[in-house]
Symmetry: C2
Subunit: 249 residues, 2 copies
């Protein structure tokens, strides 16, 4: 095979994970061409000194990510386009702040509004609190490289110690929540578009009615408690969603 495949049993990193990572980089670097590869899981496992379940676990993660395709009676093939598509795992619940950070676009935040208000009907239902119950309303302006990027409107349930407003200008909301022990688990997200309101236009340096990308999401933690109800409006000329989709079987 001449690929530098081989696992380190001394490492605390699970064997299946080591193997998956090595295969992924091999695919992305083009050292693994399309065609019948990795032929025969059993022989492959024997060559690596691993058991078949372990090898299968590694292959499965790559199949889940669309890098490999398995067919019964044939074998496991590499999807060549995966290399071009780059390392894009499943669409994940990410933080806009961290995303900008990772892209090297220097995020910054200005807190426009931060107060406890009575929950509007829609927010109350999404957060699982009674209508009119007190929630924290947060409105922020997110900038990237100094340019206005998005208006972020959030409603948070009043639970536990809340992050001080000052910190919100320094880092992202998700990171503060996580530091406070609130771990986001999953979210429902609706993506749409609409024209900018007058105030949004002023904040975002756009004209009234200019097209904005909208993200409405409800984030919950592992216990099922609502963490955040967000309603964001983003300048589509400065940011867009990039996703990788897999066809269902």
């Amino acid at each position: 095979m001449s690929l530098g495949l081989g696992v380190d049993r001394g490492s605390p990193v699970p064997l299946y994970f080591q193997l998956a990572e090595q295969l992924r980089t091999a695919i992305e670097q083009g050292r693994l061409a399309p065609g019948m590869l990795l032929g025969n899981e059993i022989a492959f496992a024997a060559r690596l000194g691993l058991s078949r379940p372990t090898v299968r676990q590694a292959l499965r993660t790559l199949v889940d990510q669309g890098l490999l395709v398995r067919r019964k009676g044939v074998g496991t093939r590499v999807v060549p386009a995966a290399a071009a598509a780059g390392a894009a795992p499943r669409p994940a619940l990410t933080s806009l702040h961290d995303e900008l950070d990772a892209a090297g676009r220097h995020p910054a935040t200005r807190v426009l509004h931060d107060a406890v208000v009575a929950a509007p009907a829609e927010v109350a239902e999404a957060l699982g609190v009674e209508e009119g119950a007190e929630v924290r309303r947060l409105e922020r302006l997110r900038l990237a490289d100094g340019e206005p990027l998005a208006v972020l409107r959030s409603h948070l349930p009043l639970r536990g110690p809340l992050p001080p407003a000052a910190d919100l200008e320094a880092t992202g909301l998700f990171r503060l929540l996580r530091a406070a022990g609130v771990v986001p688990h999953s979210a429902r997200q609706r993506i749409g578009a609409r024209g900018a309101t007058r105030s949004e236009a002023r904040l975002l340096d756009e004209t009234e009615g200019a097209p904005l990308l909208t993200l409405r999401r409800v984030v919950v933690d592992a216990a099922g408690r609502a963490v955040e109800h967000a309603d964001h409006a983003v300048r589509p000329t400065r940011w867009s969603l990039d996703q990788r989709l897999l066809a269902p079987e």
Copy 2:
């Protein structure tokens, strides 16, 4: 447990799949409350007359879908919010036509343009053909319940028998491609927004500059060959993207 759990060994449906489906419906119907459930995989497996790996395979699919959370030394818990979020598997590469169909919104299509043209630079690169090579350019107007919904612009590589234009008015492009033996495998998608051009506005019954949701995707098949380069513009007042996101570990 008093849940109607039990697998049918006579069925051709895999045991782990039967179990996963039963657990999923139990969760969605609220028959499985949060708290420590399914306690102890080993006992659970014994109770069902299955082996632990089989049970774990069932649990894993549900964990992947965000319905369960496992913690070492604690157990496997049900995520209650999942019930509210509904049965939403990972974001999949779906067809707009089929999506409307499933929602009972009676999709229809008008072919506005269908011709072989020289590939523009961007399209050529995305499709993996040389710039200026011949590709099929397709422009369609998609309607839902008789109302204009989106302008669909596609570029298809000239390969194999192409679906006749007449069929395009009757059904979706994906279904025709699949019938022709071209199976979509994965796609990269970019979601944005912009103002409607004059011609789009006329087609969609909007005003010029009205905000539109844009989808740009490159679809590839399992062999890595590009299947379609699409550039769609959708009326956000009539349709929006609904997704369910999972937090990474």
